[in-house]
Symmetry: C2
Subunit: 275 residues, 2 copies
Amino acid sequence: MNRSQLVAEIFRKKTFLCVGLDTEWSKIPDHLLSTQDPVFEFNRQIIDATRDYCVAYKPNLAFYEALGPNGWISLAKTIEYIGHQHFVIADAKRGDIGNTSRMYAEAFFQRMNCDAVTIAPYMGEDSVAPFLGFPGKWAIVLALTSNLGSQDFQREWLEDSRLSLWEKVLVKTQEWGSPENLMFVVGATHPEAFIRVREIAPDHFLLVPGVGAQGGDLAGICQHGLNKDCGLLINASRSIIYASNGADFALKAGEEAKRLQSEMEKILASLLHGV
Amino acid sequence: MNRSQLVAEIFRKKTFLCVGLDTEWSKIPDHLLSTQDPVFEFNRQIIDATRDYCVAYKPNLAFYEALGPNGWISLAKTIEYIGHQHFVIADAKRGDIGNTSRMYAEAFFQRMNCDAVTIAPYMGEDSVAPFLGFPGKWAIVLALTSNLGSQDFQREWLEDSRLSLWEKVLVKTQEWGSPENLMFVVGATHPEAFIRVREIAPDHFLLVPGVGAQGGDLAGICQHGLNKDCGLLINASRSIIYASNGADFALKAGEEAKRLQSEMEKILASLLHGV
């Protein structure tokens, strides 16, 4: 899915919600455990319940890898079930030397048919660039992440440039990609940082995790993070998919997704009307 | 495999070679393509031919993920075939928020039965620490990587500490783990850096990629990188497993592994005799 298609979907559906499919075996409701593929069955019902309220899904690879080869089968079925109307992000945090990153890019873009992969930038240009050569596909590079550990290295100030490391990542990676194939991860737990992000990267889409279970604030982020094309994909995982752990899990997931979509609809209306 | 077992194996077998299993479908010799699982069959023959000359194997996850669920099946069979006498490193470059890193740790340590996983440090403490809580298992954190992109962020000087980023990673992660559960990746393409690495981390094992196809120099690395327990795992991937692309691929792989083992035997003898 390219940028203009993504932007069109956001304004058509009045939502910039991304639903995180962090499907953990131990949290699947009991009544699904007797089905043939409980992870896929859980995802299928979550997708049916939330599809109208989101533009993107973000399966977190760790939760599928933890199940061995079967986890990859459940993931492949899930991505196929999502279909082409939603933007699919493999939240994989990959990144390696050039020939290896190329293999990861082929794995996620060609074999798994994802639209985007999250990338850790530590290894630099040749670890990121191989993800930028597929038309309509995206690298989503970690800039400032939502977790406590983001203070350990990302917030270090660099001597030469007077930028922090996460700012340098924003600056440097723009030499390798464009707003048509490159997004950034900026955690919802740092709302104040969105002002600075938009100074450095006014046009790029930002994937924003940390709303919901991690406590990030939607209105605060949008105030500083929105651009004319919306420019945000706000992810919520646990607060949606585990809204209930009973037989009504999908119903409750749909309600939570709808609640977030309603907030986003108001925010987009303000954007369109310049309020 | 814990540290004392690893050190014992190194001095018993007189080698600190790690064979990288970067098994690429397009490079598998033709006569194996008709077997039921060509990737596993290739790996099995490589392992049989090199097992006596190395202490570790390092499958690179990208090459298995690129094959979808079947790739994970080939990988699981490969790890089982390697058995418990070798140190198995999942070269996966993982790292995510705490609850997700825990899932990756379970995937690689418990389900896949690997001894170690390579970790990208960008997300800080809670992305690394979950890999440090499994007895006999290891996190191998990227410090200074072998690729050209290592200059983009890793070599930046930090304002407060007067350390480069990769030095800061060495310093900071030692607050989270010990030489019993933490190693570092230092690329063979920076032999001069091993002096500095040993000032900051004298006791830790280092995983050293970049010997062979990437051009690193074994003697230069050992001169500055060895410690009393050896402290090095030198990885070669392509120069061994693709030493020949014909029916004699395993034979040639064994010869190249044996050549490296012979060099290492001399180096270890010098170490033991203080030459």
